[in-house]
Subunit: 247 residues, 2 copies
Amino acid sequence: MAGTDSSRVPVTGGPAVVLVAPQMGENIGACARAMLNFGLTELRLVRPRDGWPNEQARAMASRADSVLDEARVFDSTADAVADRHLVLATTARPRELVKAVLTPRQAAALSRSAVAAGERVAWLFGAERAGLDNDDVARAHAIVQVPANPAFASINLAQAVLLMGYEWFQAVPEPRGNDGLGVPATAAEMESFHGRLEAALDAAGFLKPPEKRPHMVRNIRSLFQRLRPTEQELRTLHGIVSALLRR
Amino acid sequence: MAGTDSSRVPVTGGPAVVLVAPQMGENIGACARAMLNFGLTELRLVRPRDGWPNEQARAMASRADSVLDEARVFDSTADAVADRHLVLATTARPRELVKAVLTPRQAAALSRSAVAAGERVAWLFGAERAGLDNDDVARAHAIVQVPANPAFASINLAQAVLLMGYEWFQAVPEPRGNDGLGVPATAAEMESFHGRLEAALDAAGFLKPPEKRPHMVRNIRSLFQRLRPTEQELRTLHGIVSALLRR
C-alpha cells in the first residue's frame, strides 16, 4: 500500500484520524462529520469491514462527504501511520504496556505543538466494540483517555473523534522543551528499525519461547516508541545494533 | 405540571439537562448515555414529540436507562426550569437578543460555581433541527455555543449534550465576585415577576401594536434575565412596579 511515500500525502496540517477496522459505515460517516465540525479533513481507514467506498458512510456524512472522498484505505495500521512523527492512541491502556496517558485536552495541545514544529500527527481509533489491539497501541507514543464516569465510561467511536476534534479546535501549541533537538523519526523509520532489531533478536534466539514472542515484541516496540528518538538518534540506535551484531 | 415545587426535585447537584420538544426517541436515549458518561442524571423533557415513555429511547440508552426512568416531562420550558437559579441555552444567539455567549468550557465553569454556591442549574437544548425558539432563549441567562468550523458547525443534539457533560466533568468552580450578595431568584420567581409586569404594561397600553408584542416581551424578559437579580433585588423590582402602578 501507499503511505510510506510521505511526499504523496496532502499536507492539511491537522492530525490524520485513523480508524482501525471500523465496522459500521454509519459510524465512519459520523466520524467524517465530527472531523469536519472541527476542521479536520484527513481520514485514513485500516481494513474497513464492509469495504470502501461505503454507501452508509456517505448517507450519514451529509455535507461532510468531501472528507470521505479524500479518505485513504490501508491494509495495516503500520502503513496508515508510516509517514507520521507522532501517533496517539485513543483507548484504555493495556496493563502490560508502559505508556503515558493523556486527556484529550493534553493530547490536543501536544498535537498542536507537534504540528507547529513541522511534524505530522496521527490519532488512532479502534473498532466499535473491540477497540485497538495491543500491537496497535504499542505503535503509539501515548494513550488518550476521556475522563468520564467510571461506572459508565463507554464513549462511541464518533463521539471519541468529536471530543478530540473539539479539543484540537481550541488548543494552542505549547512551548516544547526539546525544540532544536531535531525532528523525531517517522513511524516508517521506526518500523524499519524494529524489523531489523527483531530479525537480529530472532537470529540470536532471544525472542523465545514462540508463545511469548508477541508479548516481548510489543514491549520492546512500546519502549522505543516512548523514547521517540530523532532521526539522528535512530541512526545511533542502528549503529548500536550493527556493532552488537558484529561481535 | 410539577416543577415549581422545588422540594420535590431530587438534588443530584449536577445541572438538569432540559430537552425542549425533542423528536426522535433514539436521540433522547443517546442524550441519556452522554449524560451518564459524565455523571449527569437529571433529565427533563418538554413536550417530547412521540410521547413518554419511549421505546426507541430505551433501546438506545442501553445501560443508561436509569436516567430515562428518572426523567420528568413538562408542558412548557417555563415549568421545566421553574426551580432553577441559572439557565443556560445551547444555541445560536438570536440577533434580536442581547446575551452573553459562552463556550462549553466557560459554561461548565459557571455551572460548577453556581452549584458550589447552592444554586440549581439547567441547560436548555432545542429540538433536532429547529433548535430553541426565541422565547426559550429569552429565559436563559446566557447562551452556549460550541466553537467549531464556521463552514460546517452543525452539531447534533446528543453531541451537544456530550460536549457540555465532558466539560462539566472536568470543570472546577471558579471564585465568584458576587458571593455574599445572596442567592439569585429562581426561574419561577422571575416568571411571576414577568407575568405581573407584562399585565401592568398591557393595561397601560405599552405592549402595542399586538404584532410587536412578542418581540417586546422577549426583549424585556431577556433584559431582566441578564440582570440575574437576587431574591432581595427581585422584591425591590416588585416594589418599583407597585409604586409605579399606584401613580
